[in-house]
């Protein structure tokens, strides 16, 4: 990369660990009160209903308890009063990279975003702290009637579609963090794909945190109308800070009759980011919602992508890879809510725990009594690298009624010393052998990622493994 000689940045081995000094034009200050919410609403020139929605979210946020009792005490380390809830250099995303301010542009260039856009993407949104700095869709895709804009623009320019679904898949009171997001959301994507339109190439969003003590709260709403198809990918990074940073997104997907949405995440937050995200999709009749979720970074991730199968024949799928390095906790899983006959769900989860890392699978499959012909398959495999690594599995499967089938398999394995010796005998160093075995463990899932992402994923796993053997 060309910018590595710049003196004003410090670089670590991981590509995302760098930051530039910024002057923010808009800064909501530290801490969260109603005044903070008014500041955000004023800056963003929110319609009244959005301001009211935020206030309602704030009220619920204060009411809701922390979910610490079922996950981890570490959540209590988040000090909400110390967080900055809104920071931006300007709230209108640019349509060309030339218009993007230099210091933001060079961040995304280092992360390779413009290059990926040219190569294989149908559109890109690049969010820097609270707002998208860049948002563009290829002309040919736009001409098909596909809308791909930021959430602020979506709610203002397309209220007839936006309002119908916003906050409906995930009500603001779903949990404490969805309520927080509802109060202070900024950025994220709004996508609408008209009936029958199949978007060939993926749309991508990239979320970048640059500021310290910051909370990023993007809000994404994707609607695929009848028979439409879409793949959406998101990547995320942040530099390493001394203090905790919060990322708390809400993502809502709506797949109308016969539509297909595939949502791919490669999360590589730095090790001080609390990543507490609520993601859910509704699949109507014969529709399909598939989450492909890869969590490599963060201090604590709590994320359980869900699919509500609302129409007959709907399908839901979650494929997830979690890598918990030293000191990290990846608490991930899936929620499958069957709400119509002949609906099918599939969960495949693979986790790797390194050093003192801990990975948790938390799953929920719900099939009510009155339904027929529903199927669920759940597989979760855990790989432990060191003796003090940890994994837990908490599957909650409630299947009632006749004629529904459910299948659950779980395994825990370790890479044996004999396997490592065998690979070393072929000339691979211990770290390379370990990397190869870990990549092998997740290989069948990695193949479901688009090629560019699977290469990146392999590189990230190699980096994580480098420091893990002594």
């Amino acid at each position: 990369m060309s910018t590595e000689t710049k003196p004003d940045i410090d670089i670590d081995r991981s590509a995302g660990d760098f930051r530039y000094e910024m002057d923010y034009a808009y800064d909501a200050g530290v801490g969260l009160t109603e005044a903070t919410i008014d500041y955000i609403s004023d800056v963003k020139d929110d319609p009244d209903w959005v301001r009211a929605f935020r206030k309602e979210g704030y009220r619920k946020f204060l009411e809701k308890p922390m979910p610490t009792h079922w996950a981890t005490k570490d959540l209590e380390s988040i000090v909400f009063e110390n967080i900055r809830y809104y920071l931006s250099q300007g709230q209108i995303p640019k349509r060309t990279w030339d218009e993007v301010p230099d210091d933001i542009k060079k961040t995304f260039e280092r992360l390779g975003i413009p290059e990926q856009e040219r190569k294989f993407l149908a559109g890109v949104e690049a969010q820097f702290d609270s707002e998208a700095a860049y948002s563009n869709i290829k002309a040919a895709v736009g001409e098909q009637g596909v809308i791909f804009v930021g959430s602020s623009e979506g709610l203002k320019e397309h209220p007839e579609i936006f309002k119908k679904w916003f906050g409906k898949v995930i009500p603001s009171g779903d949990n404490k963090f969805s309520a927080l997001n509802s109060a202070v959301f900024s950025g994220g994507s709004f996508i609408y794909v008209p009936p029958g339109v199949k978007v060939k190439h993926p749309l991508q969003a990239y979320f970048r945190i640059n500021a310290q003590n910051f909370g990023q709260f993007e809000r994404t709403l994707i609607i695929a109308d009848e028979g439409a198809e879409l793949t959406y990918m998101e990547g995320c990074t942040a530099p390493k800070f001394e203090t905790a940073t919060l990322h708390s997104a809400v993502v809502e997907l709506v797949a109308m009759k016969g539509a297909k949405i595939q949502y791919i995440t490669v999360q590589n937050w730095s090790s001080n980011v609390f990543n507490l995200v609520t993601k859910r999709g509704i699949a109507h009749e014969d529709a399909e919602v598939k989450w492909i979720d890869c969590n490599i970074g963060s201090r604590l991730t709590m994320k359980y992508p869900g699919v509500v199968m609302k129409g007959k024949g709907a399908r839901g799928e979650v494929v997830s890879i979690a890598l918990a390095g030293d000191g990290q906790h990846q608490d991930t899983g899936a929620k499958m809510i069957h709400a119509a006959d002949n609906t099918t769900s599939n969960i495949i989860s693979k986790s790797i725990s390194l050093g003192t890392g801990r990975s948790t699978y938390r799953g929920m499959v719900h099939v009510p009594k009155h339904l027929k012909g529903c199927k669920n398959n759940t597989e979760c495999d855990a790989l432990l690298i060191n003796s003090h690594s940890r994994t837990d599995t908490y599957p909650a499967i409630s299947v009632r009624g006749q004629g529904n089938a459910v299948q659950h398999e779980a395994s825990v394995s370790q890479i044996s010393a004999e396997q490592i010796f065998y690979m070393q005998q072929r000339g691979l160093s211990e770290a390379a052998a370990m990397s190869l075995a870990v990549n092998g463990f997740v290989n069948d899932l990695v193949q479901q990622f688009p090629m560019e992402y699977s290469v990146e994923l392999k590189r990230l796993i190699d980096l994580e493994m480098e420091g893990s053997v002594g």
Binding site: S416, A417, E418, Q419, F421, Y422, M423, Q424, Q425, R426, G427, L428, S429, E430, A432, A433, L436, A437, N439, G440, F441, V442, N443, D444
Partner: protein, 261 residues
Amino acid sequence: MSAPSSSSLSIRDLHASIGDKPILKGLTLDIPKGEVHAIMGKNGAGKSTLAKIMAGHPDYNVTSGDVLLDGESILGLEPDVRARLGLFLAFQYPMEIPGVTIANFIRAALQARLPEGEELEATDYYAKLYAKMDALSVPRNFTSRSVNEGFSGGEKKRCEILQMAMLEPSYAVLDETDSGLDIDALKIVSAGVNALRGPNIGMLIITHYQRLLDYIVPDKVHVMSEGRIIHSGDKDLALKLESLGYDWVEKEYGESSTKAA
């Protein structure tokens, strides 16, 4: 005792143990490049242990003696460093590596031998891989199968020889490569090994039965007992062992008889 040749795999008076238990008790052996030697012996004689110790298995401690590769000691080197110096071990029980395809595994092993920044040429690699697979009657769809996972005994052994053919070691130790093979598989594996014989490789074949040596005819045969080589001869020694059994050679040349002599 002859001085180790600079072009040989040389084991000098090697003593080794696992925990407190001595396994090798002064083993000396010299395998010059271009020759094929066989080690025979009863179960428990320490044959497989010798192979693992040469390869650097972490469970064993070398207490004295040396192992020299082309005149340089390899003791104290990591197993992967020994491998990259040219030592190959065909395992008696090859390990399964789930999710890692044979093609990727061998490729990673070859890549590990290249200087940093140099990339293996994919087209050449696959051309070579397919040629070697054809020669060993390994079906081409094996490239996308995970290393040894769900393989039959014969498939595992063929896969070991395939790796040896691709990595082109200067010394190869074949540990009980014949175990678990039916006669057809034995012929294929032996043909594969014979095809690799030549002036640039020294081989040590560890076997319990002389059957393998009908197909891979060794230049020398050594008999191992209680952690030492007690007797050496030409290929006829293997036949003699087959008819007279190990008791004969142990009585003649074993611990008690050497002391007497």
